[in-house]
């Protein structure tokens, strides 16, 4: 074997800064997309559990469409096809004037896709609370909106902390798809280091360690949070 190891490359200028920069973009994509996915997913979850059949239909249709098309294909649709379907002026703006086109497109695509998954988690959380609390809320005179805000959602979120954490980590990992439309996030950055230095082994190892460290840190933190926010009287299902 003629492979020349050089682990020092990872700590030398400029490569260490490439890694830092890549991680920065990965985290920014993950967090922005998560805000979108969480808000929209919660709204869709409410719609799917609502008593209004039209709202339920909208929620179900959204979920079926977004989870049955591969994320990469959705990303390409947003990046290549969407601007062409807009009126000329708007399409031109999206293609040329929009700030950080690759980043913005990835955040939208990832956020809209993950919203369909968050929606399913929120729905299962609300379902798990049972009809009793909903009826009790209505019985004491709360409107349906207030039942959701004060009774169902706070409980549902506490029940689904674990699945929501794993959805966040999925977004974090899926952010690597941004490289397919030219965003230089962490995975793309390590490819770039490999390309410049030919030290692929070292570069991929660095990315692997960074992804694992972030994942395990988030998991540890959320496990701690889950214990503190545990809804009394519910059996904890061992994951």
């Amino acid at each position: 074997m003629q492979y020349n190891w050089d682990w020092g490359i990872l700590f030398r200028d400029p490569y260490i800064w490439w890694l830092v920069d890549g991680l920065k973009w990965t985290l920014m994509i993950a967090m922005c997309a998560w805000v979108l996915a969480f808000v929209l997913g919660s709204a869709l979850g409410i719609m799917r559990t609502s008593i209004n059949p039209y709202l339920r239909l909208i929620g179900t249709t959204y979920v079926e469409i977004f989870r049955n098309i591969p994320l990469l294909v959705q990303l390409f649709l947003w990046y290549f096809v969407f601007p062409e379907l807009l009126p000329e002026e708007a399409g031109r703006w999206v293609k040329r004037e929009m700030p950080l086109p690759g980043f913005t497109t990835t955040v939208w695509a990832l956020g809209l896709y993950t919203a369909s998954r968050v929606c399913e988690q929120v729905r299962s959380g609300i379902d798990a609370i049972g009809i009793g609390q909903r009826n009790a809320g209505r019985a004491i005179g709360l409107s349906e909106a207030k039942v959701y805000i004060h009774v169902l959602l706070p409980n549902a979120y506490r029940i689904i902390i674990a699945p929501l954490t794993s959805e966040f980590l999925t977004i974090f990992k899926n952010s690597s798809l941004a490289l397919t439309i030219g965003v230089i996030e962490l995975t793309s950055m390590t490819r770039q280091i490999e390309e410049y230095t030919f030290q692929g082994f070292e570069a991929f190892t660095a990315a692997t360690i960074i992804y694992s460290l972030v994942t395990f840190t988030v998991m540890g933190f959320m496990l701690h949070l889950e214990k503190r926010l545990h809804v009394p009287g519910r059996i904890v299902v061992e994951k």
Partner: protein
């Protein structure tokens, strides 16, 4: 949308079909490989074999913490280095998928095995079955039957994930369509068509999965 060019799709059906064959072949091979290794990992963890169980758990958590694209890049680089000879993109990618999916399948299978009541295991052992026999004849058949809908759902996810072979340029369904899209400047038509095809297959799969779920729960 008035000038949507259906001919471009119709004229390229054979080429697109070749791509779809690669996608399906990869999916099927990865599902089988993933389930086999996943089952082994799950049994090791449930049987609590010392050290091995720890390694299996570490394997599962490790792979679940990585993006699939990174794993694809790793194996694309590593497989030729380790084997000492060039291998096609397909083999590298297949190994990446099997290793990656095994981690996810093992969690599903572990949950499935755990769902078979421990009373049955005790009963089987009481009538003199070995641990292996008990797994083979009592636990696994029931576990797999109960797991079919979830395994199917995971297979649909895997089918969607195979589109990521795009990053090493393996000519699957998506890459074939993209080649035509770029060559003939028909992006709208090709990407819409790809989306519709994936949607139809995955939606049918998820309907089947929930149908099986209902059938099994009654």
């Amino acid at each position: 949308m008035g000038d949507f060019d259906f001919a471009i799709i119709y004229n390229n059906i054979p080429f697109l079909f070749e791509g779809m064959k690669t996608t399906l072949l990869l999916t099927v091979a990865a599902v089988i490989g993933g389930i086999v290794i996943g089952t082994v990992l799950a049994i090791i963890r449930i049987a609590n074999v010392p050290i091995l169980a720890w390694i299996a758990a570490a394997y599962v958590n490790f792979f679940r913490s990585l993006p699939l694209i990174l794993v694809i890049f790793w194996l694309y680089f590593l497989v030729p280095l380790v084997l000492g000879r060039p291998v096609g993109a397909f083999s590298s990618v297949l190994i990446a998928f099997v290793l990656f999916e095994a981690a996810y399948y093992s969690e599903i299978i572990r949950a499935g095995i755990a769902s078979v009541s421990s009373g049955q295991v005790a009963a089987a052992r009481a009538i003199g079955m070995t641990y292996t026999q008990c797994m083979r004849f009592i636990v696994l058949p029931q576990a797999f039957k109960a797991m079919i809908p979830v395994l199917l759902t995971q297979a649909i996810i895997l089918f969607q994930d195979t589109s990521l072979v795009y990053v090493v340029g393996l000519k699957d369904f998506l890459v074939s369509a993209e080649l035509i899209a770029n060559r003939d400047q028909k992006l709208i038509e090709m990407f819409m068509f790809v989306a519709v095809v994936y949607f139809t297959i995955c939606f049918a799969g998820s309907l089947l999965s929930s149908h099986l779920q209902r059938k099994l729960s009654t």
